[in-house]
Amino acid sequence: MPKGTGWRISLIGIFVLLSFLYLTPTLVAKLPTWWSGLLPKDKIHLGLDLQGGTHLVMEVDTQKAVEGSLDLVATDLEDTLNSKNLRFKRISRNGFDKVSVVLYEKGTADTVQKLIKDKYPSYELSPTFDEGGFVALTLRVSDKDAQDRKDKSVQQALETIRNRIDQFGVSEPTIQREGINHIVVQLPGIKDPQRAIELIGRTARLDFKMVREDISPTSGTIPDDAELLKEKSVDSKTGAVTEIPIVVQKKPMITGDLLTDAQVRIDSQFNQPYVGIEFNSLGAKLFDQVTAANVGKRFAIVLDNNIHSAPVIRERISGGSAQISGSFTEKTAADLAIVLRAGALPAPVKIIQNVTVGPSLGQDSINKGLYAGLIGVLLVVVFMAVYYKLSGMIANLGMILNILFLMGALAALGATLTLPGIAAIVLLVGMSVDSNVIIFERIREELKLGKSPKAALDSGYDKAFLTIMDSHVTTLITAAVLFQFGTGPVKGFAVSLSLGVIINLFTSLIGTKVTFDLFLDRGKVKKMSI
């Protein structure tokens, strides 16, 4: 055996073995039990374009989260001042980063100022100023805190969405944060994408608010502490939507974060599904107090600023459970129960990208992609065999090794195979042959100069080396940039392409060369089949 053949052959052997090892989980449907443990379990994932599914990009309206926390501060201050008998005219959120407090006298203002400094040290407190004869001051949330709140809201939204999806039941979902305020959700193989999207995108903020019967919804002037909301009801037969405006107290009595559970139940009398909810101890106590104090009055169940229903409180409800009924189907009731259990999103989300591929199209793409790939490989194999004879077959062997290694590498990285990824593999077939063509043409030239097969082979490889390097590096540059900036399918293309280029460099410079060396070494070949 020629010098240096041994290690090269062993290296190829090791790579072949590794490739098969890593490919096993992909190829074998059910792994034997002894496999798990040390041996690789990752497999090549199919992209959504190949297996069908939904890819969503959602934008979290983080500004709303900051505003929400300012609203909380305002309510909290109101409560605190009330409990300390400090009289104030108005406390409310002002714009997107301030809470303004308007007081009657300078004396209270000093006390309030001190109180705020103690309670909210991180807020920037303005000196008192005059506002139409009253004493006013503002708290401003610091930029750092606002940024923090925004960041947390995205994190919370991500967790909530993950909870909802888990409860909805999707196998292998991907939920990731992207950039500052984007969340990417991938739901492979999902059957009813529309329903899933509605479930995920819903804010699901639940409030119980008292109805203000004393204010007419049509009066046009609504006091600061009340708001006009609408009760929407859909006629199940005609599908007509009716909207009834109702004025409610702005401040909720109880909010959805006091819930511990929500379940779908069926009303035995009308056979109608409803959602039964359970409060935690604080919620139960509040609910008990509120219902006791307001028997005979109406309260509104408000979901995402729409009144879901506004029943009359018939009697005091203790025990901490209540029910939300309405014109539900079993599905809508189940979805509402899921979002209530998983909790509200800290801020509204907007779906800014939605790519859905049906399972039939995905299967069609796999079949056609593989079929096209196979034909492409076959055409190239035949061409090489005819054009370069035995040497062509060696090149073909190199190409097959290339594909094997690439698949193995994809499996080892747990990479995702997309349709453009298959295209990249097919392209790689062409390129893998190219390196050999460059080498073979060189060898032919050297042979024409009258060199012996062995000498022609060596100088052919030597002279082709730089050319091959150059051509691979340029492709690698493109692939790297595509990887950095591409999304979804394009990224898949870039991964396959760059791995392919690196692997091809190995097989063409080491793999096929060692095969030639072996051939030429045995029995002093006089003529080369090229």
Binding site: V57, Q194, I351, I352, Q353, N354, V355, T356, V357, G358, S360, L361, S365, N367, K368, Y371, A372, G373, I375, G376, V377, L379, V380, M384, V386, Y387, Y388, K389, L419, P420, A423, V426, L427, V429, G430, M431, V433, D434, V437, I438, E441, R444, E445, K463, T467, D470, S471, V473, T474, T475, I477, T478, V481, L482, Q484, F485, G486, T487, P489, V490
Partner: protein
């Protein structure tokens, strides 16, 4: 087997004709690029934002009927396209918000074609902000990869070769834009991917030719530029053709059998392979010859 024996074609001598052809292609390509910039070309919704759906009907459906059905139900602006096999219909609506339009289309068809059930094979909705981001990212990607490649070539060869390679690569990209613009095919992310891939491929091709030219320049310091370049191109000609053939074979099988999703992508690759091969012989090298000759003339003048 050998397709070509020893050839002796005067490629450099043909530069007048080839430059005219390339100039025309490039100008059409530039018009295409300008139209893309203005948003007047057939833009994919991944750049413009909007909704695109692929529907599969159980019975054949005519585009005219589908259009009236959409009009009746308040969808005035939709781009409809038929896919030959299997009663498929592509509906594209630019610049619309995410969520509503796809529902509207489905309700419209359900109402108007009650006896012709359909399934949504795929739907893509992209908000305008994503479209903007993608366009920006793509532009950066294209510029960066160009820059990287030029720097690499300039480092491996010299500036004149760098210019030749860059111009040839730009020529190839423009040619692909020209083809897609003239055929009114959709410019989308996949097309840009194909363009960048071909940029890499065409450079590979050019580099192989340049490598040989450089080698021959070192061997033969006194010969006329035209001869050295011509000889080099002829020497690597059979490699150029064989490689192009294999890549072409792979791409055409994707084009013919790969299915509708990658049909246009494969088409772009095909155009690119052909034009990339042409440009490495007829565009890149002649430009370097001109530059080298000019440099030589300057040197002799000063000497």
């Amino acid at each position: 087997m050998e397709l070509l024996g020893k050839t002796n074609i005067d490629f450099i001598g043909m530069r007048k004709i080839s430059f005219i052809i390339s100039a025309i292609i490039s100008i059409v390509g530039m018009i295409g690029v300008i139209q893309v910039g203005r948003g007047a070309a057939n833009m994919g919704i991944d750049f413009s934002g909007g909704t695109s759906m692929q529907l599969k009907f159980s019975k054949p459906i005519s585009i005219a009927d589908a259009r009236t059905a959409l009009h009746k139900n308040g969808i005035a602006k939709a781009d409809l396209q038929e896919i030959k096999d299997g009663n498929k219909l592509l509906v594209k609506m630019a610049g619309a918000a995410v969520g509503k339009p796809s529902e509207m289309v489905q309700t419209a068809f359900k109402k108007e074609f009650a006896d012709n059930a359909f399934t949504v094979e795929s739907s893509t909705e992209i908000g305008p902000s994503i479209g903007d981001k993608l366009r920006k990212d793509t532009l950066i990607a294209a510029l960066l990869s160009m820059l990287g490649i030029i720097m690499y070539i300039a480092w491996r060869f010299d500036f004149k070769f760098g210019v030749g390679a860059t111009l040839a690569t730009m020529h190839d990209c423009l040619a692909m834009f020209a083809a897609f613009y003239l055929m009114n095919k959709e410019i989308n992310l996949m097309f840009i991917t194909a363009v960048l891939t071909i940029a890499g491929y065409s450079l590979t091709d050019t580099v192989v030719v340049f490598d040989r030219i450089r080698e021959n320049l070192h061997k033969n310091l006194k010969g006329a530029m035209n001869t050295i370049f011509n000889d080099s191109i002829n020497e690597v000609l059979s490699r150029t053709i064989v490689t192009s053939t294999t890549v072409f074979l792979a791409a055409i099988s994707l084009f013919l059998f790969g299915g509708e999703v990658i049909h246009d992508f494969a088409f772009a690759l095909l155009v690119g392979v052909i034009i990339g091969t042409y440009s490495s012989v007829f565009v890149a090298s002649p430009i370097v010859v001109i530059l080298e000759n000019r440099a030589l003339a300057k040197n002799t003048k000063t000497a």
